[in-house]
């Protein structure tokens, strides 16, 4: 797609932008809306998380009751009885078992929810992609789209399975603990409040710094990966020019920048936990001391201290854990934003209402719609006044003064007019970037032009439903794309309900049957990603067979410029000419034989048709085409 590439935006690695607060909550809210379908289950999960932490806190609080019981004295004697202790331990155990069961249950349910939500997001993204215009794919790096399916959904997995439960857990544990602490001893509880305030401040300051450097680090990673990708891909060129040293030298400086950013980001992330943990110990020491003072003053009992210390860790540990989640949450929000960006991209617009139907055509040319395949097709055209007309699908294509640009201020085509009658072959000739591919992009509405400029069987092309329009055409592209699956599957891509016989027939038309039957498993041979185990020529033959099985009245061919040896070329040529029989063909020509066969040749230069006519006419014109042809014929 050289034509488009020149206008493509730089395919930079996208880096997560710092999120604004309001936006962040919006994104999280939207993420959670995916749980709406399971709102009862989701509510139940939240309930379980809260129950687990509350039961945990109450269980821990039993320590106070039990230790207090140890110190209870009646009539100068300890009232201690084993039976009573067992009973108390049993109650404590009951809370703990409850907390554990709730913890398992919420994790299991959350897993189910999380995997469903992730699948929903993935599917929605994929479905959206199928509906996006070709322009989107021409202007976005594939690697970047792919990373939304991999990295970004993965951060969401962590968000749902870790961050979200931990956040709820932290909040409910901290609240429950506070209630318990205030019940136990309000004076000591106030110290814990002070501690909490300090801790949250630390999380905010250090976590904020860490987040800032993590984003910076992401940028550096992008730069680093970009450099690595470029120079590993081009490694052979580096070697041929002996540029190894220089390449490594440049890498060094980029690598060093990543190193610094990583050290900073991880440094802040690494100290958050020790600071929080040790603040916890600091308060442990303070509470032990002050608690001791209170005990000596008779304002507290030893059992207060005993219960306070573990409960206090109940506050510090979840906050510590939560602090580790901040980066994940930030990354998840950035990831979700990128996923929503795809989902929110406007779909390929299609206001077409003229559809393609099976038709019966009688001797007088009257067309009636048919339920079953008749081999004949017609355009079904509903009009404003409610009437229906049928037009036979013939493959008549007309351009009237078509101008077009991929971007607003960069025109690619200027006033292109042409007509192709059914069964005619139109060849486009011209330099790279002259606009050849662009014209074919308009015929199948990969890109749209203003109303009425292009007519297909006399119908304004913009009125035809895109899917039906494309069904009436077949493309064989320069870069042949095969899919993982068998050879037969790949041919059948052109007509999903084709029988085995039809597949073999199509392969025969394309001249591909011979080599396919010599493959290890014939038509059932599995093709790996993009047909890498076939030669380029063979892949093209399969693509031709794919077009042959679809058997539409209009064909768009982009001849491969890549080097194919003469013998293979002859085979492909034979396949192509068989395929072209009786069809309207638009071909971007690179071969003399193709051009000679064409009914009309359009010579394109910088988006304008500068010459048109048959080979003979153009030769006698002695213009650009003549010169081009001279170039082709050179070597006297």
């Amino acid at each position: 797609m050289a034509d488009i590439k020149t206008t493509t935006l730089p395919k930079n690695v996208q880096v997560g932008q710092p999120q604004k607060k309001g936006n962040m909550f919006k994104v999280i809210g939207r993420l959670l809306s995916y749980a709406k379908k399971y709102r009862f289950l989701f509510g139940f999960v939240i309930l379980l998380i809260v129950a687990s932490s509350v039961l945990n806190v109450i269980g821990m609080f039993q320590i106070k009751t039990i230790t207090a019981y140890f110190g209870e004295i009646k009539d100068g004697k300890a009232v201690f009885e084993y039976a009573e202790l067992y009973r108390m331990l049993l109650i404590m155990g009951g809370f703990f078992v409850g907390a554990t069961i709730c913890a398992y249950a919420y994790a299991r349910l959350m897993l189910m929810l999380c995997s469903r939500i992730m699948k929903a997001l993935r599917d929605e993204m994929f479905i959206t992609l199928q509906k996006l215009p070709v322009k989107y794919f021409d202007t976005h790096a594939h690697g970047d789209i792919m990373s939304r399916f991999t990295n970004d959904t993965d951060t969401l997995r962590e968000f749902f399975s870790q961050s979200l439960p931990k956040t709820i857990d932290t909040v409910s544990t901290v609240i429950a603990t506070f209630v318990m602490l205030f019940i136990a001893n309000w004076a000591l509880a106030l110290i814990v409040v002070a501690m909490l305030v300090i801790m949250l401040t630390v999380v905010k300051v250090v976590g904020g710094k860490s987040g800032k450097y993590f984003i910076k680090r992401q940028t550096e990673i992008g730069r680093n990966n970009g450099y690595i990708e470029e120079y590993i891909e081009g490694q052979k060129a580096v070697k041929v020019f002996c540029r190894e040293e220089k390449t490594v030298e440049n890498f060094d400086s980029i690598n060093e920048r990543l190193n610094t950013a990583t050290a900073k980001a991880n440094g802040y992330a690494n100290i958050l936990m020790p600071i929080l943990g040790n603040l916890g110990y600091l308060f442990y020491a303070l509470i032990a001391t002050l608690g001791g003072v209170l005990v000596l003053n008779g304002m507290a009992t030893p059992s207060d201290i005993v219960v306070f210390l573990p409960l206090m860790r109940n506050v510090t540990l979840p906050i510590g854990n939560f602090s580790q989640q901040i980066n994940i949450i930030m990354m998840a929000v950035a990831g979700a934003q990128r996923i929503f960006d795809i989902i929110d991209t406007p779909h390929e617009e299609d206001n077409g209402y003229v559809t393609l139907v099976n038709a019966n055509i009688d001797k007088n040319g009257n067309i009636t719609e048919s339920e079953t395949r008749t081999g004949k097709w017609a355009w079904k055209h509903p009009h404003h006044d409610g009437t229906l007309t049928y037009t036979e699908l013939k493959g008549d294509v007309r351009f009237a003064d078509v101008s077009f640009g991929y971007e607003e201020n960069k025109q690619v085509l200027y006033d292109v007019s042409l007509y192709a009658k059914p069964g005619q072959q139109i060849a486009f000739v011209g330099a790279t970037g002259a606009g050849k591919t662009t014209i074919t992009n308009l015929i199948n509405r990969f890109y749209d032009v203003p109303d009425g400029k292009i007519r297909y069987d006399g119908i304004n092309i913009n009125k035809i439903k895109k899917a039906d329009l494309r069904r009436s055409q077949a493309m064989v592209l320069q870069d042949t794309h095969l899919f993982t699956g068998t050879v037969a599957d790949n041919i059948r891509f052109g007509k999903l309900d084709a029988t085995d016989e039809e597949v073999i027939n199509a392969a025969k038309i394309a001249n591909a049957d011979f080599f396919i039957s010599h493959l290890p498993q014939g038509y059932d041979t599995m093709l790996t990603a993009d047909g890498a185990n076939l030669s380029q020529g063979q892949r093209q033959l399969i693509a031709i067979a794919r077009a042959a099985i679809a058997d539409p009245p209009v064909l768009i061919l982009d001849e491969a410029t890549s080097s194919i040896d003469t013998r293979t070329e002859a085979i492909i040529e034979k396949g192509m000419s068989e395929l072209m029989k009786g069809k309207t063909v638009f071909v971007i020509a690179h071969r003399l034989s193709t051009v000679r066969r064409a009914n009309a040749i359009m010579v394109l230069d910088h988006g304008r048709i500068t010459e048109r006519g048959t080979h003979e006419q153009l030769m006698s014109l002695k213009g650009t085409y003549y010169k081009l042809a001279q170039g082709l014929y050179e070597l006297e």
């Binding site: 493509t8 821990m60 399916f149 020790p274 020491a285 768009i556 003399l592 014929y633």
Partner: protein, 577 residues
């Protein structure tokens, strides 16, 4: 791992040492703090306020010291691991730069890229976890257990039961989860493949209106991924509840047995119970941490293996023994009895018994069908691959006698797959010669018919090329690559199908200007018969052998392959007169 570590840590060694030491002290203080509770309790029993306050003060001091050690180790661990990763990346990058073509072919470029990026990240993560967590957790367990024993031996027996129990379940869970996670990764790979194919083939999908078909395919594999995900994590989620269960059991045991002990004469009291409860959390948490780290280490082990594969790869083209001062004196080339196969297996020879002599200054064309080993043949000249048997001589000396740099500076090659790098046009051209003057650059671009189109850009020679040169067309790219190769002022210039996207007339004028350069041997590999027709002599390759080597006129008379190609490409011309 250790070997790799010592070789990559370099100047970050001090950080790698400080980090664990800091952690040891941090842990020591952390464990001391609850131990002090025993003295608090004594002070409480003695109702001694001064003792209470001084012990309390000491505890606060310990906490502050622990904080300092913690920060120190956190910062140094980050520095050490980031530095380690940087060194590792550099080492890998350097190694790959030194790879021969054969080495590079063995690994695909995409796999090399993943090794340099994702795999290094994984190892870095594991490294940081190791120097912090794997020091911290065992020391914490040892110290906390020791102090627990020091406080009360009988009660410490609880840990003797709990520890192996928890460790055992963790190992069981992790080992079972590992297998399922491997399956999960495989399914994710498959899913990505479907997605990637769809992206690459989106035009085919749209042209054939197969959006629904593709969606069905994706939804099916997406469901498989969901299923594998649930299966893998279903095991992991047992960790938390089991951990909670054991911890709760320990708490209850400590309270129960410890409580009873407060009534015997062991001197154990209610306050000492709290330090015990703290030890319980410390020990079990540490064990959990070890489990988590194990998971990460297991994941990173796969990455580590992949990195080591690259580092351990033998570079097969070496020039250690070559003479530094030997330079290529002229552009003559000799092949004698050359055999070569990419696999090293002589049954699969790609080049068979090649003998040829090319005079300095000749223009040589090479034609032949795809797969006839044209590219392979010419790659022997700048020693991009080494012959299996026989010898290749350039300028009268075996290519192995030259330093690779000296050889390749004299043999300039334009690859079939042209590569330009991000930077300006001028930057890219200067690859040929770092010190080229503007005049020299213009001279080269004019010879390659590139000057005019470069000047048509608003920024001329300072035009930025995107990654891979996306801002220029295929033909323009090829011409820039030829100009770049010419700037080297080579003795031998090899064009490997380098004008396929250039129109025929430009192709012709490039060839003409190359002919004007004095004393340079030009080798042109081409599919177009026109491209080799003006050569002094043409090599016809057929299945790894030289079928003929003669002037084009002679070949047209006598060589059937040449005639066949000529006729198929020229038929139209003759008919047309």
């Amino acid at each position: 791992m250790i070997k790799l570590f010592t070789s990559c840590i370099g100047k970050y060694k001090k950080y790698a040492i400080i980090a664990p030491i800091g952690i040891i002290f941090e842990v020591l203080f952390e464990v001391l703090i609850p131990f002090m509770m025993n003295y608090i309790s004594d002070a409480l029993n003695a109702e001694d306020m001064t003792a209470l306050l001084s012990i309390g003060g000491l505890m606060v001091l310990f906490a502050i010291l622990s904080l300092i050690c913690g920060i120190l180790s956190g910062v140094t661990a980050a520095k050490a691991s980031a530095g380690f990763a940087a060194n590792l990346r550099k080492k890998l990058f350097l190694k790959i730069q030194n790879f021969s073509f054969k080495n590079t072919d063995k690994f695909s470029t995409s796999s090399l890229i993943t090794r340099l990026t994702t795999d290094v990240e994984n190892v870095q993560m594991a490294f940081m976890m190791l120097i912090r967590g794997f020091v911290r957790a065992p020391i914490m367990i040892i110290m906390a257990t020791t102090f627990a024993f020091a406080t009360n031996v009988k009660l410490a027996l609880i840990f003797v039961v709990a520890l192996p129990l928890l460790a055992g379940t963790l190992i069981l869970i992790i080992s079972r989860a590992h297998k399922r996670f491997k399956t999960l990764l495989k399914v994710f790979d498959d899913m990505n493949a479907v997605e990637q194919e769809n992206l690459i083939g989106i035009r085919a999908v749209k042209a054939f209106v197969r959006e629904d078909y593709e969606t069905e395919k994706f939804v099916a594999i997406s469901e498989r991924a969901r299923d594998a995900h649930v299966k893998a994590e279903r095991i992991l989620i047992f960790i938390t509840p089991i951990m909670m269960m054991i911890m709760f059991a320990c708490v209850m045991a400590v309270i129960g047995f410890g409580g009873m002990m407060t009534f015997d004469d062991s001197g154990f009291d209610v306050v000492s119970l709290t330090s015990y409860l703290t030890y319980t959390t410390q020990i079990l948490m540490s064990l959990m941490m070890m489990g988590m780290i194990l998971v990460i280490v297991v994941i990173s082990r796969a990455s580590l293996t992949r990195i080591k594969e690259v580092l351990d790869e033998d570079i097969d083209i070496k020039d250690d023994t070559a003479d530094e001062n030997l330079i290529v004196s002229d552009g003559s080339i000799d092949f004698s009895d050359v055999n070569f196969s990419y696999s090293g297996d002589s049954d699969k020879n790609v080049l068979n018994n090649i003998n040829l002599h090319i005079e300095s200054g000749e223009t040589i064309g090479i034609i032949g069908a795809t797969g006839s080993a044209k590219t392979t043949l010419i790659q022997m000249i700048p020693r991009l691959y080494d012959v299996d048997t026989g010898s290749v001589k350039v300028g009268g000396h075996n290519v192995k006698e030259y330093k690779i740099k000296n050889l390749r500076n004299a043999v300039s090659m334009v690859l079939q797959k042209n590569v330009l790098f991000s930077g300006t046009i001028k930057d890219n051209l200067k690859w040929g010669n770092e010190n080229a003057t503007d005049e020299e650059i213009v001279e080269a671009t004019k010879a390659a018919c590139a000057h005019d189109f470069i000047m048509s850009f608003p920024d001329g020679y300072d035009t930025e090329l995107g990654q891979g040169g996306v801002n220029v067309s295929g033909g323009q790219k090829q011409r820039l690559c030829i100009a770049r190769a010419l700037l080297k002022k080579p003795k031998i210039l090899i064009l490997d199908d380098s004008t396929s996207a250039v129109d025929t007339s430009t192709d012709k004028s490039i060839r003409e200007s190359l002919k004007k350069i004095k004393g340079i041997t030009v080798i042109i590999v081409a599919q177009r018969i026109a491209s080799v027709g003006s050569a002094d002599r043409v090599i016809v390759m057929d299945e790894g052998r030289i079928d003929a080597f003669d002037t084009p006129q002679e070949l047209l008379k006598s060589n059937t392959i040449y005639q066949e190609v000529y006729n198929s490409q020229m038929k139209g011309a003759q008919q047309n007169g």
